[in-house]
């Protein structure tokens, strides 16, 4: 038994490092030359991997910017919300809590990424698609909490509205980078809870 086998497995750690490296170099190149002008080949070179390996880590060029796994965090946080809260407020808290423990560094990266994503049509489309996919998760969570069925239109409308508000906030945030994303999201979801007064 050698020193290297700590617990996570060398393979896993190496993969995680490679993945992070690809994302880092990709982001730098995108910043410098623009998203479209940067080819996957260039990213591969910068990250010192082969072209084919890139697609083993990310199935599309877009994914290199969009992959994040905070679904499990969201689920955990949502399920631990007090029972007296409405589904919407529980969801609001869960979404906020996920982002509340970010360092200023991480927040700044997120802001930059958001601006980039929202300004490139292809990326924006992919991001929105991701968020709509998350609708399914919201439906699932809401059903568990309320005892309603997946096919209940009220649940669907709820999940749709929350997701739509989320998208609109991301857009707003891209246009107003100086704003506080969390505050915006909280305010917007509160407006939804209040029946969208106009």
């Amino acid at each position: 038994m050698s020193v290297k086998s700590t617990q996570a497995g060398l393979r896993e750690r190496k993969k995680a490092k490679t993945m992070a490296s690809i994302q880092l170099h990709a982001l730098q190149l995108f910043r410098q030359y623009g998203y479209k002008a940067t080819t996957v080949e260039q990213i591969a070179e910068a990250a010192e991997i082969s072209y084919s390996t890139f697609f083993r880590y990310f199935s599309t060029k877009e994914d290199v910017l969009l992959i994040d796994n905070y679904d499990p965090l969201l689920v955990a946080s949502f399920e631990s919300q007090p029972a007296h809260l409405t589904p919407l407020m529980a969801l609001r808290n869960a979404m906020l809590s996920g982002a509340k423990e970010m360092t200023p560094q991480e927040l700044s990266t997120m802001r930059e990424r958001n601006e980039l994503v929202m300004s490139v049509p292809e990326l924006r489309a992919a991001m929105i698609n991701n968020m709509v996919s998350m609708m399914d998760l919201i439906i699932e969570l809401t059903c568990r909490r309320t005892g309603r069925e997946r096919d209940d239109l009220a649940v669907r409308a709820f999940a749709g509205a929350v997701t739509g508000v989320n998208i609109s906030v991301m857009q707003y945030y891209a246009e107003h980078p100086e704003a506080d994303f969390l505050a915006l999201l909280e305010e917007a979801l509160n407006k939804l809870e209040a029946g969208l007064p106009l």
Copy 2:
């Protein structure tokens, strides 16, 4: 002066016919062989145009299914809604009125198209992206009606919620093709107006 020059211009009519022909043949091929398995080249052959010409009519393969111009109809209908209605109800009426004058034939085509689009990830993403683009239109209309600013978060949240509900209904409809789309949309928007009771 020959018989042919009626009023719309020969060129315009020819273009419209070609466009319709491309869409028709594309839809048939997609039905038969699937979206991905059908190449633009095959569509071009079927519609008896060149490969390059296809992209003069539709800038992407997706667009051949997604292009529709009922934005102007929506705007007109919205602006003619009675002033005492809330923005949401005015929007609801406008969206419904657009679809209410469809023939059963058209409704059936729409249903089929919706099923196809929602079942192919790429198409679904493109469609959702279209709908989110329409959010800008809703923002614009809502501002005109309420006198609020584009940058008002309440307006943004409103537009986002309506769009999100719309998306969720399309998804629901794809899963339940036997349902009445208009009834679903109306019901879902009513729930939104009622504050999304759960």
